[in-house]
């Protein structure tokens, strides 16, 4: 992970900054289910978009790689959604 971050510092800075922004918003908008769900959706959407653009830009985008991002995104969405729904 460290090697990846060192190799693409700007890309990861953008990704982690967006994650941080979502966390800050979430902290202020907790307890409201529609807002929590929208923030989770934003987090996952940005991660997917980031993966797509990052790998396309560095010429190593493949269906397998894209599939991996989709699976992690779907997994995160499902887990987050379940917790928020019952929270």
């Amino acid at each position: 992970m460290h090697r990846e971050i060192k190799e693409y510092p700007l890309d990861f800075a953008i990704l982690f900054a967006s994650f941080l922004a979502v966390l800050i918003f979430f902290f202020h908008l907790r307890f409201s289910l529609p807002l929590e769900q929208r923030l989770l959706l934003s987090l996952v959407s940005f991660y997917l978009l980031w993966g797509l653009v990052h790998h396309w830009y560095h010429h190593d985008l493949s269906l397998r790689v894209l599939g991996e991002y989709f699976l992690f995104a779907f997994l995160a969405l499902l887990l987050g959604w379940s917790v928020f729904r019952f929270g």
Binding site: M1, L15, F31, L43, G51, L75, L78, G80, S82, G87
Partner: protein, 277 residues
């Protein structure tokens, strides 16, 4: 020994699994997604088969909600709200309506607004407001949650309001036992707000089912934390192996996956039981 080999295959990159922990393989991740979907289905269907087993218990009282609400108002230099019997009754009817018609919203599925409950108990007002909450375990968390939301906070700190009515009702929504909190605010017209009313016929509130055994939120939260933790651990180990043995594979960035999971973990940890509306 066989079990150990399988565990290594699942959690560590080896020649056997193509130098990528099996848990990170697309087919295993897909299976994981399917298992979670099935788990969700079970949680949806279980309350229909065994109502009252899943649920949220609480020790919230209307008095505590009013005390905390007035504490917030006093901190802002606003006068305390008076408990109004009519508003208490309107709040109680709203809660009963939500349980009877299985909804949790300001407007009922049939289009009934909160203001109809004010009219039903003959509370005539110049301005009125409604805050809703459910599934909280204590009154402090409820008021804190409302104060954290700009629109609910506006209701609590509205200088025009004079009266308050609160109902804390326990019952079942979609087969899950829960506690609903209805907080109504109003500024009365003349003295009519003080009139004692005769209770009208109300929808029957489902009786309480004793003995909640499982709190679904805690179960799901614990499960999510465990799964995220395992995946983070596997990603970290996988990255370490890749770095140590100079493995180059056509995969996504582990740091991006780990970042997403870490952010999700923090979201899950920040999520408290209870919702407001």
């Amino acid at each position: 020994m066989q079990i150990m080999k399988r565990l290594v295959d699942w959690f560590l990159p080896t020649a056997k699994n193509g130098w990528r922990a099996k848990l990170l393989h697309p087919e295993i991740l897909t299976s994981l997604v399917i298992v979670i979907l099935l788990g969700q289905l079970v949680f949806h269907l279980f309350p229909l088969v065994h109502p009252g087993v899943l649920g949220y218990s609480s020790d919230i009282t209307p008095e505590k909600i009013v005390t905390l609400t007035n504490k917030m108002r006093r901190q802002m230099g606003l006068p305390a709200l008076r408990i109004n019997k009519l508003l208490n009754e309107a709040a109680r009817r709203k809660a009963a309506d939500m349980f009877a018609f299985n909804y949790w919203a300001h407007v009922s599925p049939s289009g009934r607004t909160p203001w109809s409950f004010f009219q039903e108990v003959d509370y005539r007002y110049t301005v009125a407001g409604e805050n809703l909450a459910k599934d909280f375990t204590d009154a402090d968390s409820v008021v804190q949650a409302w104060m954290a939301s700009p629109t609910h906070r506006d209701n609590i700190l509205d200088a025009r309001f004079r009266d308050i009515g609160v109902a804390v009702a326990r019952g079942e929504l979609n087969g899950v036992r829960t506690t609903l909190i209805v907080q109504l605010f109003g500024a009365p017209v003349g003295n009519k707000g003080e009139k004692v009313i005769v209770p009208a016929k109300l929808p029957k509130v489902p009786r309480e089912v004793a003995g909640i055994k499982v709190n679904p939120f805690r179960v799901i939260k614990a499960g999510a934390i465990l799964l995220i933790g395992v995946l983070l651990g596997v990603l970290a180990t996988d990255s370490w192996f890749a770095h140590r043995y100079h493995l180059y594979r056509m995969t996504g960035r582990n740091a991006a996956h780990a970042g997403l999971l870490l952010a999700l973990l923090l979201l899950v940890l920040l999520t408290h039981q209870g919702l407001i509306y």
